[in-house]
Symmetry: C2
Subunit: 311 residues, 2 copies
């Protein structure tokens, strides 16, 4: 039997036919998010049917469909409570897609789904308990315990970016102050890079990003590699706060591994080695506790498809 995994985003809908953790066929279509939700869901069903056909699979061989969706999803009902990226509120995504396709449909949050994909088939596949953090526009989280997704009541848990690490600190998009997201997201890194670039006109940051608009999550890392001290300050601070967040998750979950995804994770070992060094120095009872591997995600966009298919 085959499963279809769909990664619904604000811009693209990526889908794939999956068997035993392998993607047999995949495609990407535009979300066209300003249309009524019914039209978007109809496109998803059409995309899934075309994919099955492309893979040479009869519709009755499709066992189930899984969808990863941004925002707050109620897993039990398959309803999207709200998704800013899609402009959706209380959309019965699961039920509508299921009735169009005639198979069971499971829906979950996109960060959770990516975590499940990495846990089963990616960087986390050799670990039973794993935490995933996606360092992108925000900081997304996924909790895997005993190879299963832990989503909390009405699937509203796993908001690991909204753990306050500095009470009264930087304002977060969620309204609270001091959330990990306000320190460890790519957006936070970019914002700090822009600030220090403005203050240090002789910094290598100006060479790498000629205009403010060119500053991205790699800028500070790149300038630091040229020996720039202003950039090093930004990166050191970023790594420090992220390590504080990771140590918290170690003490809470003591997972076997933490997997980092999202744009900033592209730094690879330059990021993870520095994190591990700080965590070794500061972690609770570290000498007596099992080490936590800090890894970067390996599946890229496929994590969403594979994770969704596994829901």
């Amino acid at each position: 039997m085959y499963r279809i995994g769909i990664d619904l985003g604000g811009t693209n809908i990526k889908a794939g036919v999956v068997k035993n953790g392998k993607i047999l066929a995949k495609s990407s279509i535009k979300t066209g998010k300003n249309r009524p939700y019914g039209a978007v869901i109809k496109d998803m069903a059409e995309q899934a049917r075309s994919l099955a056909e492309a893979a040479g699979i009869a519709p009755e061989e499709v066992e189930s469909v899984g969808v990863g969706c941004p925002g707050a999803v109620t897993g039990k009902t398959g309803t999207v409570a709200y998704a800013n990226n899609l402009g959706w509120r209380d959309v019965p995504l699961g039920p509508v897609l299921s009735s169009l396709m005639g198979v069971p449909v499971k829906v979950s949050n996109d960060a959770n789904v990516a975590a499940l994909g990495e846990a089963l088939y990616g960087a986390g596949k050799d670990y039973r308990d794993m935490i995933m953090l996606t360092l992108g526009t925000g900081v997304g989280g996924g909790i895997i315990i005993d190879k299963r997704l832990v989503e909390g009541n009405e699937s509203k848990g796993g908001e690991l970016g909204h753990v306050v690490i500095r009470t009264g600190g930087r304002l977060c998009t969620c309204g609270r102050r001091g959330c990990l997201e306000a320190y460890a997201s790519a957006s936070a890194l970019i914002s700090e890079t822009v600030k220090i670039r403005r203050k240090t006109p002789d910094s290598a940051l100006w060479k790498i990003a000629k205009s403010v608009g060119e500053v991205n999550g790699e800028t500070a890392f790149a300038a630091e590699k040229l020996g720039d001290t202003a950039a090093k300050k930004v990166v050191d601070e970023y790594v420090y706060y992220l390590a504080e967040g990771l140590m918290n998750f170690c003490n809470i979950f003591r997972p076997q591994a933490i997997v980092l995804g999202g744009g900033v994770s592209a730094e690879g070992r330059n990021l993870t080695d520095r994190l591990v060094a700080l965590m070794k120095a500061g972690n609770y009872g570290y000498a007596g506790t099992p080490a936590v591997e800090v890894l970067t995600a390996t599946l890229g966009n496929d994590a969403g498809i594979l994770g969704a298919a596994s829901l």
Copy 2:
């Protein structure tokens, strides 16, 4: 069949014979912690045997023994990696007790065990997912998901007191700065009460605690009830930081309930109502997310016995 639950502490060993969540007989003996560990474990076996006899149960009717133990316990092997309160390091508690009693023995951390007790038979019994925090000398934690204890790799997770809520903040006993324990333990509350008492000679705190030695976790709450503004400041700050910690656990786990135990939880609704008010105002996406009940523990010392018997 019957189970025996043992709550091993630095001062006393409390044990009970349990059937279907009811304690049929219980007893408390002195730990005598400066003896070789073998003597302490032998006493535990003797205590269990006497209890079974007192309850009129034949030794072969005892199905299993569970032990809650302070410090770092490796659940899989039943070994106590280290327990400062007992002066123990790498003590094979489970195997030795099991060989003395001829039944399987499970060992876990005492805070975890108390959480399991409350989850199954106490304040959390109507909830599937529950977080327990004990507000005592330190801040202990227990994570219950789907009515099961989540302990992490080598049972070293669940250290909810050692989640940093204020990077660079107050020094914690664990060596890091800004841990929840440094703000929300009874010790932290006492320390802040002592500080402000010293600074405000006209405070009602002096009436309630005539000497520094008389200051305890209730002092500030009691003085606040007399209208004392210095005491109110201490309590408000205590509640504020604790609420920050609880909101973090809501965003991470979105449990159905958080149960507070330990000395400070004796404040009851005066504490929980204030916490809930802060959490309503500040919680991530609160309007769209299910509320989390904040309750105080109901089993007292029996939580350890009942939880241990259920391991």
